[in-house]
C-alpha cells in the first residue's frame, strides 16, 4: 500500500511536469480585407479615346472621303 502511495506521489509531480508537453495549440490566422472598388484609369482613357474617335469620325468623315491623301479602305 505504501509503495503505491510513494509511487503515486513520485509520478504525480512528474506527470504534472510533463503535462504542458501534451498541450498543443492550433491557430489559423486569416485576414479578410474588402478593398474598395477601383475604377482603373486605363478604362477611362480607352472610353474617352473611343468617344473622341467617334466624334472625329463624325466631323471628318465627309472631308476624308474627298481627300485623296486618305485611304478610302481605312475610312470605311
Amino acid at each position: 500500500m505504501k509503495i503505491k502511495v510513494y509511487l503515486f506521489s513520485a509520478l504525480l509531480p512528474a506527470g504534472l511536469l510533463f503535462l504542458p508537453a501534451c498541450w498543443t495549440k492550433h491557430q489559423i490566422n486569416s485576414r479578410h480585407e474588402i478593398k474598395p472598388i477601383e475604377v482603373k484609369p486605363i478604362h477611362i482613357t480607352i472610353d474617352v479615346n473611343i468617344k473622341v474617335d467617334r466624334a472625329l469620325d463624325d466631323f471628318f468623315s465627309d472631308i476624308d472621303e474627298e481627300d485623296p491623301t486618305i485611304q478610302q479602305s481605312i475610312q470605311q
Partner: protein
C-alpha cells in the same frame, strides 16, 4: 404686371437658350467643314510636293529643309499665301478639337493627338507624317515608312 411679363420672357429664353447655343455650334462646325473642304486641293498639292506634313498633334506643319529650298524659288506673295493657308487650316482644326474636347470632356490636345493617329494610319504613301516619338517619316506602301 410688368414684372410678371419680364419674368415669363426670361423663363422662355432660358428654356430655349441651350437649343439656340447647340444650333449655333452646329452652324459653326458646318462653316468650318466647308472652309476645310475648300482648302483641301491646295493642301493636298503641298502635301504631294512634300512641303508640308501632318504632325503628331493633329496639325499641318511646314517641312524644314524642303520648305526652305522651295522658298527661295517662291515669290514672296505666294509664300505668304501658303503660310496663311496653313495657319487658317490649323486654326480651324484647333476650333474643331476644342469643340470635340468640350463635348467629350477632355482636352483639345488629346483630340488633336487622336486625329494625328487617324491621319497617320490612313495616309496614302508619299505623305509626310510625324511619329509619336517626333520623327518625320514618309509613308510608304504596306504601312512601311522611310526616315
Amino acid at each position: 404686371m410688368k414684372s410678371k411679363w419680364i419674368f415669363q420672357i426670361f423663363i422662355t429664353l432660358s428654356l430655349f437658350l441651350p437649343a439656340i447655343a447647340a444650333q449655333a455650334e452646329n452652324e459653326n462646325l458646318a462653316r468650318i467643314q466647308e472652309r476645310m473642304r475648300q482648302r483641301l486641293p491646295q493642301i493636298n498639292e503641298l502635301k504631294a510636293a512634300g512641303l508640308i506634313g501632318e504632325n503628331n498633334r493633329g496639325y499641318l506643319e511646314p517641312l524644314g529643309e524642303d520648305l526652305e529650298a522651295a522658298e527661295e524659288e517662291l515669290k514672296e506673295e505666294e509664300l505668304e499665301k501658303r503660310k496663311t493657308l496653313i495657319t487658317k487650316e490649323n486654326e480651324d482644326r484647333k476650333k474643331v478639337y476644342t469643340l470635340i474636347a468640350k463635348k467629350v470632356g477632355t482636352t483639345p490636345e488629346l483630340v488633336g493627338r487622336r486625329r494625328a493617329r487617324q491621319i497617320a494610319e490612313a495616309a496614302v504613301p508619299g505623305v509626310w507624317i510625324q511619329t509619336s516619338e517626333g520623327d518625320w517619316i514618309k509613308k510608304k506602301k504596306n504601312e512601311e515608312t522611310e526616315e
